[in-house]
Symmetry: D2
């Protein structure tokens, strides 16, 4: 039974004058921030602001690199070569790490964004290229990945630390994948239900699927919450409270992995 | 009298399928490469290739950050705030440094590109913001700047090392500024003449202006050659030979500053 | 005394997944929409949506071209050549017009955006280049410009129709320019006050400056309201009602210029 | 037996200071120019220059729209929705057409670029979305497509004119598709061989595959030559001469389709 859990959220997803998300409302209640690196969002001014906010609330930070697709917010698959994937990741991780350096904080992890996250979860070649880039940059970075994924597998093979991630507010299919957002009931919006699910994930390593079955997720180290819903701050706050009440410490994954 | 000189050149100025310059022909003959960081040129794959080439020829590398203006190749002035300048520089320097890290090589210097270089040469606020960013990232980086410039002044005040730069193939005005490229005779193309000028810069710290006067440049540590002319490789090669023949060592500026 | 007035607003200022403004709340209450063309905002999907919404509410549309500066939302001055200005405008105007064509609606006007609007208001060369491009594309387009501006002057000289624009919610300096947004009281937020000012602009062609003086604006054909404040829809609605109550028809400028 | 043939080439594929291709050498010898529209290449200044050059040599022009992927030169597949495809095409076609309008020339055709061309050749949904956009913009545009392709099929169904395209300098597989550029002998560089192949395509509608078989291509209206090889101008010139000598008129496809 797990007694420690990390809560992560994608933050810094604005771009210049384009704002997105509720970073100020969410940051106080999470333990790991995935910071957009400029390819799907996150111009340099936004990165700097996001890291200052993370530092203020002692939230661990990670790079959140993407396909080069600002117009599609990194949500569209692209036929990148492995050479492109490797170099795009090094570029983005380095950029975010540079800001961390100027603030005297560490870079804890890397979590791929959007279409790249999804492709690396199922495609070995993509996963291996991504892990190779992360390790080349720094073998000490923690790789965030779904428990049973090509990305997790590639990271383990490369002797990298992996934090297994589950989703607080997304419905699961019986095979452990996420229900597509386009389907009904894909998103769980009830704050109580979210907390209950996460506590079960932490304690049992299981989740109830959209069909009502209970399936094994395996060990879960970090829970992803979404930052772009209007009440994302409240969800974060209540989730953290519920976990604490259930006797689960909410701390950055680097402190217990 | 100077007996050591650095030769620098802007390299890695392609972008994806867009090629530019003659990096392979030039790299063997220079000692410092200014590497485009993605804002005016230099996508991640190009950065990686450029650094591998620099490593092969033991050329020291620097970041060559720009205004965010790919369409204008960073040659157009932009009304950036000092906050924007600072963060755009940290982003770009970090990105190039990250690739250097993966190759086990150091980042030697920062040289601003194009319109940003020109603005920082004459505008105190821009220069101070730029120096602040470079220092925040790493106080050990060498700042490339014209001898008498706001940028050099700001770097000295910030206790940063400054490498004074002169231009091998550009005509000078009597006030020590460069003759605009739009004017006749702004570019010196005769290889012999270029070598002669550079030797005089090294030995005397002077240059003959477009009017025929001789003016003081002050101490010069690094000579900039251009990489985008068809015979840039030959210019580099013959310049290096001429300097060596004149008893001037051609080595990276970090080894003698 | 004017009995007809156009209300214009910048719309379609999202970009892909980045949303901005309250287009759905504002569109029913205005008569001319300035549509972002892709250079500061307005990807193709957003342009199409914006035009469909304009068509639904019978709002006349205009192109709202910008400097190529997505990261700075077109608010930063750029040192563009007149050749660049001309071609950037033709590109953007054409693109928006193409969507209009597919929907069977007309392109009524062109209003420059942000830093380009400001520069063309005071700089003859910029204004002439902009007007030249608009006229080259179509001599029937209406040019939106401040009453006393280089842009208005250039348009008149080129025999183009000009709609003189005033700002509903911005304070004016005694010289007729707008008070910088960075100064206190630059924005007028009281809905009643806004309506009162606009009625005075329409009836008298005057405005009370930030110092309390009354100055001549000259004839005003179109009133700009801002779309990016939370209650922009309400402002638009109440302004239209107030104008109607005051006996002023609210219709697209092309119907009375 | 065909006695008329169009020669097309992708031109205007520079971007700002990034040059690409040999437009000036090629333009005099072709009859249709496919003009990059800004998404993979072709900033507005380049579009304007390309159209002026086409006008000078009485070359018919077409829009050459792409995925939004400047970094990958439009050569990478992207998971675009049909709504995105439609609107990206309308945007790009409109932009190029706008420049044509200012020069008093017509837009003859649309040819998709790179990865989008390839996807539309084999995927019905993509092809239908593309054709829908082209027709919505103008039902008079000619669609360039491979003879046996989803794109040609979709255009025919939509009652659009289709120009069947073959490639002068690419090897063919036995199934009529092109040999991948990564394979040996994919490119035919011998100028005589190119001319001979094209004459056979024109006269017989057949081509010899990489295996030595002769296959039916069907009717061919336009021959694509590549503009990015160093001797592209010479290839164009000698191809045109060879066709003329063989009694085949070389004229824009709109004049005989």
């Amino acid at each position: 039974m797990k007694t420690k859990m990390d809560i992560n959220c994608d933050l810094g997803e604005g771009y210049g004058a384009f704002m997105k998300g509720n970073d100020e409302a969410i940051m106080p209640h999470i333990t790991s921030a995935n910071v957009a690196c400029g390819f799907h969002a996150g111009d340099p001014v936004t990165i700097a602001k996001t890291l200052r906010l993370a530092k203020k609330f002692k939230v661990a930070i990670g790079a959140h690199p993407s396909n080069p697709d600002l117009m599609g917010f990194g949500r569209r698959e692209m036929g990148l070569t492995t050479e492109e994937i490797r170099n795009y990741l090094i570029y983005q991780i380095s950029a975010v790490h540079g800001f961390a350096k100027t603030l005297g904080i560490e870079l804890q992890h890397v979590k791929l964004h959007g279409a790249l996250y999804n492709k690396a979860a199922r495609d070995d070649e993509t996963a291996q290229a991504a892990v190779q880039a992360i390790k080349a940059y720094s073998p000490n970075l923690i790789v965030f990945a779904p428990p049973k994924s090509a990305m997790a597998e590639a990271a383990r093979k490369a002797k990298m630390q992996v934090a297994y991630e589950a989703f607080a507010d997304r419905a699961y299919n019986p095979d452990g994948t996420l229900v597509s957002r386009r389907k009904p009931n894909a998103l769980i919006t009830d704050i109580q239900a979210i907390a209950k699910r996460v506590i079960q994930m932490a304690r049992e390593g299981t989740v109830e699927t959209i069909n009502g079955e209970t399936i094994q997720l395996g060990e879960v180290h970090t829970i992803c919450i979404h930052g772009d819903t209007p009440d994302a701050g409240k969800v974060a706050e209540s989730l953290k409270k519920a976990l604490l009440k259930a006797g689960i410490q909410v701390i950055p994954v680097s402190s217990f992995l």
